[in-house]
């Protein structure tokens, strides 16, 4: 009951706040301007991140990290292919070192290392 009450109150406040913004003729979040090129970057990086999370249990953290980092840096920020691959490998090593070996946190099934 408590949770439902919170959610209902939150929904009321949220819709009221949005409505007020629209009535003023402004977008929610005054001052925020929708910039297509940058928004596309945001979408590309977040889309790749979702693919990364999907890939984790299938190919394992280090491989998925390498692929995400290299593709993310190249596709979102236009980094040269060799630099993005180098940084990707570095990150994969860091993840493995920090979480796989160093602290004994088991990695998801199917890791390839």
């Amino acid at each position: 009951m408590l949770g439902v009450a919170m959610l209902l109150a939150a929904a009321y406040l949220g819709s009221r706040s949005l409505l007020l913004e629209w009535q003023r003729g402004a977008r929610p979040g005054a001052g925020a301007v929708w910039r297509p090129a940058r928004s596309r970057r945001v979408l590309v990086l977040y889309g790749l991140f979702v693919v990364y999370v999907l890939a984790m249990p299938i190919v394992g953290f280090p491989v998925a990290t390498f692929a995400f980092a290299a593709a993310g840096m190249r596709a979102t920020f236009g980094m040269p292919i060799w630099r993005s691959a180098f940084y990707g490998a570095l990150l994969a090593l860091l993840v493995q070192g920090l979480f796989g070996v160093g602290l004994g946190v088991p990695l998801p099934a199917g890791r390839l290392w």
Partner: protein, 508 residues
């Protein structure tokens, strides 16, 4: 046990080689977090909690606290040299600091920022040490009604002061409270909103929400705002970091006053260090003999802003350690970390874990010395960090967030929760909703509900328990004033817009 004895006992913990190492690591990482745009202290702490999971509790918290106050030192470096505050509470430092750098006085400005941070940091630890045990003793007499009222005050203050409008702050708080109800009922054991997933029976882990709300949106927002090019600005050779005698003469009083003001502001829940540095700057300009110097390269302005910023950090540890009430996003994440290690912050912490509390306090002294030693000779090296490509920082934050969310329960479900909260956090930023009240409500939600129900159980369901005793009644009245006060003031002034604070900046 006297304070001196307790501190000596704490020093033994803090000076253990392993804790010294983690203190050094924490303050160094904090410095880096402060320098890097796109990563605030809350994100930095949340990202590194998973790394601390296998450490002893005191080492972990010493390191995480080091990140918190270390970030304040780092924020000043880029504010002064590049006018790009890596951390929002350093905005006021950049006003006069950058002017000084433009006139070739970057060295003394950086030196003054480091010394002011050190002096204020150390003095405010003394205040913390004197005030916290007394407050904890008083709080031992608190019952569930008092704790409930205190938590309500903390939530109301954060909701009211951390966002652009009261409605948005309250909205974020309500979402946080609703999320905290997920999981097994703490008293009856009844499952609440598990949505058919056994993982949700344990509730929603605060770390996953913190990573989702702070880590991912900060990166996406930086991309959206276009600030992703590495800094190439030239800032000249850094020489003569020691401020001149005249600089000290001008800065001594502002530094002392701002330390006291910053500490007092830091103790208040929800106010945060950005407001402390704004207030200190405004106060010193009002008191100055030559107010025209402010904004045109006044070194005393740098001293005032930096000392208030650093003193507020230690001030914010007072309610956290003594009452278990965090006042900002960073301290809320620290509270979550304490709970993860089985340490319940509150008045009993001084009784049950004196080694830990006094070890942490002693480490604050040591950390401030380490930061001064790091910042004076290695400032050139720290500045180079701004040249790191943002592309690398962005994917690093994403990867560390994902691995951190997985490491909580070794379950991929929590990584999907991270994806959902990352999207929610970005949407919240886009809509101008502050994330700090949400995380605070999530961390406090269980304790708030528990105290509310206990108070009612004791009085057989009599709601007047919250208003019949003077302390809870006064605290609740204060909470109401915090909640509706700004709105009334705003209407009274007849302004259309609420006084704007940086969203998430109870965050700092």
């Amino acid at each position: 046990m006297s304070i001196v004895d307790a501190l000596a006992q704490g020093a033994q913990v803090a000076l253990a080689p392993i804790n010294l190492f983690y203190c050094l690591l924490g303050v160094t990482l904090g410095n880096i977090v402060g320098i890097l745009p796109g990563i605030g202290p809350a994100t930095g702490i949340a990202l590194l909690i998973p790394v601390t999971m296998s450490m002893p509790a005191e080492s972990a918290i010493i390191m995480l606290a080091g990140i918190y106050y270390g970030s304040k030192y780092g924020g000043a470096i880029t504010s002064i040299l590049l006018r790009t505050p890596g951390e929002s509470s350093s905005v006021m430092t950049s006003v006069d600091g950058y002017e000084l750098a433009r006139r070739g006085r970057a060295g003394p400005a950086l030196g003054m920022a480091a010394f002011a941070s050190f002096i204020a940091g150390t003095a405010s630890v003394v205040l913390l040490m004197l005030l916290a045990p007394r407050l904890a003793e008083v709080a031992l007499a608190f019952g569930p009604a008092e704790f409930f009222a205190l938590m309500m005050l903390g939530l109301a203050a954060t909701a009211s002061l951390s966002g652009g409008s009261l409605a948005r702050g309250v909205l974020a708080t309500l979402v946080g409270l609703a999320l905290s109800t997920v999981g097994l009922d703490i008293i009856t054991g009844q499952p609440r909103y598990p949505l058919g997933r056994f993982e949700l029976l344990e509730g929603i882990d605060f770390l996953v929400v913190a990573l989702g709300l702070f880590g991912i949106p900060e990166v996406l927002d930086t991309i959206r705002c276009g600030a992703i090019e590495p800094v190439r600005t030239k800032y000249g050779r850094l020489a003569g970091l020691l401020p001149a005698r005249d600089d000290w003469r001008r800065s001594a009083l502002p530094l002392g006053r701002s330390t006291l003001l910053g500490f007092a502001v830091g103790v208040l829940p929800g106010v945060g260090s950005i407001i402390a540095s704004f207030l200190a700057y405004a106060t010193e300009r009002a008191l100055a003999r030559e107010p025209g110097r402010f904004g045109n390269g006044a070194i005393e302005a740098v001293a005032a802003a930096e000392s208030a910023d650093n003193a507020a950090v230690n001030g914010s540890l007072v309610p956290l350690l003594t009452l278990g009430i965090p006042g900002s996003a960073s301290t809320a994440i620290l509270t979550g970390a304490l709970l993860m290690f089985g340490l319940t912050p509150g008045p009993l912490l001084f009784e049950t874990n004196p080694d830990f509390v006094w070890g942490l306090i002693a480490s604050l002294y040591i950390g401030n010395v380490l930061l001064l030693l790091l910042n004076i000779p290695l400032i050139g090296l720290f500045v180079q960090i701004t040249r790191l490509p943002f592309a690398l920082i962005a994917v690093l934050v994403f990867v560390l967030s994902a691995v951190g969310a997985f490491a909580v329960h070794n379950n991929i479900f929590h990584v999907w929760l991270l994806v959902i909260f990352g999207a929610l956090g970005y949407a919240m930023r886009w809509a101008g909703l502050p994330p700090a009240p949400l995380i605070l409500a999530l961390v406090l939600g269980n304790a708030l509900e528990q105290n509310f129900r206990r108070a009612l159980a004791i009085t057989d369901g009599d709601y007047s328990v919250f208003v019949s005793r003077p302390l809870p009644a006064a605290l609740l009245l204060l909470a109401v004033l915090f909640a509706i006060g700004p709105a009334i003031l705003q209407r009274h002034r007849g302004r259309g817009e609420a006084p704007e604070a940086v969203p998430g900046e109870a965050g700092a």
